[in-house]
Each structure stands twice: as structure tokens, then as C-alpha cells.
Amino acid sequence: MPRPRTAYTVRVGYLDTDQARVVHHSRYLRFFEQARVEFLRENCFDYAVWERETNMGTPVVEVRMRYLRPARFDDLLTVTTHVSDARRAWMWFHQEIRRGDELLTEAQIRIAAVTLDGEIRRIPDRMLQCCLGDEYSA
């Protein structure tokens, strides 16, 4: 199985914009997070179920983001997601937001795995396997 990539679409709501009539910079993080949850749903598991069953979470520990062009109210955006690198302690997601073919924002977002009590854990094998496809090795 090749390393999976997904495309998630989201329509910009009025509440996503600011006084300058563009999407506020904080809202892109939300779009990216939604896209990662859908990426996991499509390729791995339902995140909410997994969280309940394992008592674990995957906090964001690092974000590198470039804002290239603004998105505006009612734009239909596509958020692409794939895992660009992974180790036992973390995974980097590479994500892009486009309006049609136009690249608006790109980000590298690193997650770790913790118990819901905040103790660090390995990234679960199951998650590495479904995010890396054939490139996974235990």
C-alpha cells in the first residue's frame, strides 16, 4: 500500500473571517486539524473512538506554517494531508490548502502521542502502519 494522501474540502464561513475580510490566521489551524481527523478516519480509524478506547491523544507539538495568499468568505478550499516523516515518538504531517489550483497555505505539523493524563507514549504501531503504508517497518 502506498503512503496515503487525502483531500478534504471545507467552505469558508463568515465566522472564519476577520475585519480585513480574509480568513483569520488562527482558522487555518482548525482546517488543518479537521483534515487530519478525516485523514485518520479514511486511512486508520475514527479518532474519537480510538481516543475513548485507548485513553490516548495526539497533541500538536510543533507547527511550521506559511501563509501565501488569503482565503475569503465562501471560498471552497481543499486541504491535502499526508505524513511526511515519522519516528516512534512523533509524526510530521504535511498539509496544504488550495482554492482550485492556487496554493494558499502550507504547513508542517508535528504530533506526539500521550495518555490523556499527559504521559508521553510511542506513536501506536497501528497509526504508523496506516499512515506510512508499505514504508512502515515495526
Binding site: 507539538v61 519516528r87 516512534r88 515518538a89 506526539a112 508521553i120 510511542r122
Partner: protein, 86 residues
Amino acid sequence: MTAMAPTDLKAQLRSIIAEVIEKDPSEIRDDVLLKDQGVDSMQAIEIISDIERTFKLKIDEKDFKHITTLDSVHQFLTTRLAPPAA
């Protein structure tokens, strides 16, 4: 697995830790907490994974608490790698 001389084992562990935190092995102190030598929680997981891979063993997550200094890692590994009593 062949039993390893204690100094070799410690040198190997020192090297693993140094590589993960990108320091020279000589800078890794034996009895100072790894977190005080610049090892963050994710790097600690990397160190554990590298130890597992190097020594072909599995470290249970409940044993992570033993891995606080180079000395404590060494002691933990010495016990784990010891041949079973006859």
C-alpha cells in the same frame, strides 16, 4: 545473546543518547538526569526505541520511569540482558 562487558554496554548507551540529542558522547554525564542534559520527552522515546532496536528487546512503557540517567539505563539494561540463572 552474548553477554556484553559492562563498559561496552555503557559506551553503547552513551553513544545512542548522544546521537539522539546531537551531542558528543563525552558530554553525556553518567549520573545527571537526562532531562537536565537536554533530553526532552520525545527524545526519550527515541532513545528507548534505539535501545530496543540495538539490543533486540522490548521495553514496557511502565519501565520508562527507570530511564532517568545514563547510570539508570545501564543498570536497567544490565538486568534485562543478564543470562537467566541456571
